[in-house]
Amino acid sequence: MHYVDYAATTPLVDEALEAMLPYLKEHFGNPSSLYGPGRDAKRGVEEAREQVADAIGASPSEIVFTGGGSEADNLAIKGAAFRNPKGHFITTTIEHHAVLDTAEWLEANGAEVTYVPVDSDGVIDLNALEQALRPDTILVSVMAANNEVGAIQPLKKVVEVVKSKSEALVHTDAVQALGKIPFNVSEIGVDLAAFSAHKVGGPKGTGALFVRSKTKIEPLIHGGGQERGLRSGTHNVAGIAGLGAAALVSAKEAEQEGDRLQGLRDRLQSELEAAMPGLTVNAAKAERLPGLLSVCIPGIQGDSLLLMLDRAGICASSGSACQSGSLDPSHVLVAMGVDKKLAFGSVRFTFGRRSTDADVDAVVQTLPKVVAKLRRIH
């Protein structure tokens, strides 16, 4: 089996598992309790908070633990919107659905939303962003790196543009950036940033939102007042411990590991381009996530391709999976101006910690054969 879908999820790293085990076994206390077992559990949460803060260049008090990346995005955007429900919001056409669908929901509930376009390589149009800004703009949400095509967004410039023209907060969905490229909230200057544990070798169902000190947002979940009132509910202590360990390890390794993954990606890209005439690389001219290759293959259906790859033991994905599990043409590719028919034939390979040359070889050997077989029918 060749797992080449690290952008979907990653196997748990040993460091995360080891960090979690004490909180699944002996330290069962409620971190909000005042006695010993409670304090033991609380220590796990606070250590993890420091680890996440260190990983992204924040202060521990700026980290809010959530039930995942999507919740973190929702908390940032709705949290800002609840303070000003009829305000103006800006995002891009290539966001993850955690952001896009939230923006659409705000629109349906009285807010105004401007969707800033991207160029043919999936990079935000900064001029359009500048023009979209208004005095009443509440929040601008621009992802750090796109999950489907890997295009890294000029976030520092986004912050400069927004801050020079408005009072708006800047949020970024940094789920795909953490642990893959250097990502430091102090250098970039964003106000809010969402992270997910399971994309960086941590457990599923845990995430975090960076909330810059003095940034005012409302909670989505009310209750016991945990996380300084921004996320009530008893902490998922083991999950948070796993997130802390995984975030720190992946951030530390990001640079070196990034070089290695880029080597795998570049070889896969050049060998596929050589073997498969007509294949196009998405976001080819953009600065891309190092371990991600997204291609379009003319004359095939992406869902058939993934089925055949699965049968051949290759786990890859394509487009954005909808709830029923089928594929619609990716909104990201459509936003980049890729022809709808070609967009149906997109496939994404993403590498991570356990990826090796053998994974590249397997894809290079299998993909052209499978495509030839599928094309025979159509």
Binding site: D303, L307, C322, Q323, S324, G325, S326, D328, I377
Partner: protein
């Protein structure tokens, strides 16, 4: 290597058991659900192709331990099933979308894909049988006559039948439910879906008002002499033989006899004046691939309708069906399917009745 089967799974009990039976038969089974809408599916009462249905089918595949995929056929379905369905209603016909789906999607696009996956056979949950005892495969009625679905499969030819399997057709519905229960499938007691899968909430009148606005304008209800007897709600909302919704109160009950879309008129008649002696067909196909000049057959003119003895005659513009005895109302747009005992010989779309 094990023989490969692709099974079209809807989340319902029949296709679930079809997958189980293929696996029991020694095939390596791949379950496939057809997604027929772009975006998220309409959630309707029949539950067809909704997220819930996909989850049901996926859970069945987990229990059976077979891989399961949802494939997008939204484009084919819209072009080849929904649009023709709307067009047929605009023309005053009463179409059967399941026939067009089988003709143009399941046993066309899906079968092509199954073949491209190196599948040896594609199975569905239809109550029908393929008889392979002779030199060529034959299409036969399902064993459970109350559930028989061979009517909606008449367009299959030998090449499709060679690669098709209908495992549930060998059983009664009761047996299928008990097989589902013995396998621990939660879909075992799921109710039958009767609605048209793409009509939201099964409200075909609301859907027609939206998709066939020109057939949803009130107009005159007339008798054979052209005397206006009342007002209808829009010609697309009526079908020959229908009695309700005419807004006409006369001594003897009146039924729809004919729909005249260009005049936005619904013609009604008393029961005795509705009889049909002859049908004109279009798009007639025979399972054997041959086109006989003349043929005696038993003809069904609607799903689960009665059979009537008739002679088929090939003319210049297509086949005609001459009934031995006058028949009750028949709706243009429905399929006329030819049987010899329990074997399907072929069929066509009814274009007019006389």
């Amino acid at each position: 290597m094990k023989r490969q089967a692709v099974v079209a799974m809807s989340g319902g009990v029949d296709s679930s058991v079809a997958a189980a039976l293929m696996k029991e038969d020694g095939y390596e089974v791949t379950g496939i659900m057809l997604k027929l809408w772009s975006g998220e599916a309409v959630n309707n009462e029949s539950g067809c192709c909704s997220v819930d249905a996909a989850e049901d089918a996926r859970r069945v595949a987990q229990v059976l331990d077979i891989p399961f995929y949802v494939l997008n056929f939204a484009d084919e379905f819209d072009r080849r099933v929904v649009s023709p369905w709307i067009h047929a209603y605009r023309s005053g016909r009463t179409p059967n979308p399941c026939v067009e789906c089988n003709r143009n999607v399941k046993f066309a696009a899906l079968l092509d894909r199954a073949r491209s996956y190196d599948a040896d056979v594609m199975a569905t949950g239809h109550y029908a049988r393929v008889d392979r005892s002779g030199g060529h495969p034959k299409l036969k009625r399902g064993k459970d006559s109350g559930k028989d679905q061979s009517y909606v499969l008449y367009m299959l030819g030998r090449s499709e039948l060679a690669d098709a399997a209908f495992p549930v057709g060998e059983y009664s519905k009761t047996e299928i439910r008990s097989i589902a229960e013995s396998l621990g499938l939660r879909t075992a007691q799921k109710p039958e879906s009767q609605e048209i899968c793409f009509v939201p909430s099964g409200d075909s009148h609301a859907f027609l008002r939206e998709t066939v606005p020109d057939g949803s304008i009130p107009g005159p209800v007339v008798d054979d002499d052209g005397t206006v007897l009342g007002t209808h709600h829009g010609f697309a909302h009526y079908t020959p033989g229908q009695r309700r919704g005419l807004g006409v109160a006369l001594g003897k009950p009146l039924y729809v006899k004919e729909i005249r879309p260009r005049l936005n008129t619904v013609v009604v008649a008393h029961a005795g004046d509705l009889q049909v002696n002859m049908l004109e067909l279009e798009g007639t196909t025979f399972v054997s691939g041959e086109s006989p000049d003349e043929l005696r057959a038993s003809v069904m003119t609607r799903y689960r309708g009665p059979e009537a003895a008739a002679t088929l005659v090939r003319g210049n513009s297509g086949y005609s069906v001459m009934f031995d005895e006058p028949q009750g109302p028949v709706a243009p747009g429905q399929a006329a399917v030819f049987y010899s005992d329990d074997e399907v010989l072929g069929g066509g779309t009814i274009s007019s009745t006389h």
